[in-house]
Symmetry: C2
Subunit: 258 residues, 2 copies
Amino acid sequence: MSIRSVIMIGAGNAGFHLGLRLYSTGVNVLQVFSRTEEKALRLAGQTASRWTTKLRDIAPNADCYIIAVHDDDIGQVSETLYSNPPLRDKLFVHTSGSTPSSVFKPYFHRYGVFYPLQTLSISRPADFTDIPICVFAPDREDEDDLFQLGQTISRKVSRIDDEQRAVLHVAAVFVNNFANHLFHIGHQILEKEGLPFDLLRPLIRETAMKVQEDDPSKMQTGPAVRGDRATIERHLGYLEKFPEWKELYEMVTKSISV
Amino acid sequence: MSIRSVIMIGAGNAGFHLGLRLYSTGVNVLQVFSRTEEKALRLAGQTASRWTTKLRDIAPNADCYIIAVHDDDIGQVSETLYSNPPLRDKLFVHTSGSTPSSVFKPYFHRYGVFYPLQTLSISRPADFTDIPICVFAPDREDEDDLFQLGQTISRKVSRIDDEQRAVLHVAAVFVNNFANHLFHIGHQILEKEGLPFDLLRPLIRETAMKVQEDDPSKMQTGPAVRGDRATIERHLGYLEKFPEWKELYEMVTKSISV
């Protein structure tokens, strides 16, 4: 069998975009749950589906239940859903990069993961054709179904087990959360000096575009990789006013140099 | 007067792209110098200009001399050019983010900076309309001319003095060199686990695109900003195999959390 209908449990950034994309590729979104009525309504309104703010009202007629709530809530939500017997044989997946699929084990015998590896915000459109979808299920048939579901929304679907996904998530923190923090530091430095962040934006974009085809190691430039101590010392001198970032500068410079 | 002709001294990444762009917007590139014949030829061939590998053969008939050599060589190149008397009253600029304009002071009385704030590689086309050009000259008329020259190749020209440019360069190291190093770490982690870097590339691109309109601080997500200790501890556990990156993970996490 394949997955023709889903119920979205959670309608935040990931749930919203995923629900919308599934609907737009012809998957039946039967129902949307969110504790926040406004969020439930927003997604339901765009996917021609019913909505609820109560977990006990989740309907038992979907092929797959996509749990897109905060990582910490996946267990609690599962427990509540389990208390509704007609749901117990259904396929449950979460969308989290950092939660093992075993979170479902105490409750369900059909479960898995459907993880879109992207940073999604309600305020920005998401181009799913290009977003890697990482699927996993202990049962091969379920995983095949999730793989197929992934292929309806993206050209890049991979089978990624819990351990691999945990590694991916660490790497994602470096290239996304940590890189964004560096952009923030750049922004703060410029702001302090009354310079507009627009001066750095094209550089940030190009830095990201350069690694779309090449390896980052080949793209490394700057004083650290050149071993340009004079420039490094000048920079450290300037960073006296930001001691915490000075320390970071030193550590990253050391890490690049080795 | 305005700048209608230039001589490119240096034909590496910055010199090549700058020379090409100036030529394509109608500026006369009279001559190209590079110590490497191949580089001199490559740029001269695309800008209908003469070329030389000898500094003493630089012609005295250009409105502006653009020195795009390694930062450390700007002083030495200037000294050599100064030994040629007909050049002494000419306008000299360098293209370096980290070198004060005063590097020219011992030699020339007309000098300045023409700094394209972008990471340029021969192998990638450069879209100059979007690249911030930072100009400076102690003499107002020279600076006006450089500003105009900037406007012929970009929509984003700013007057940026030595001190501001030094700050910009520190910030650029964070958002470019250091961010690229994070991409490298992500790449290495995935490689170690036999996972393709393509899984992270869309995330890297989107992370950069999100700050094109918004402030990075608004875009911060992940375990550090959520204070999600359980995930952070899991990540640190995994990073035991990369002690240096574990230390970096801890420092950046701390920096995000404060």
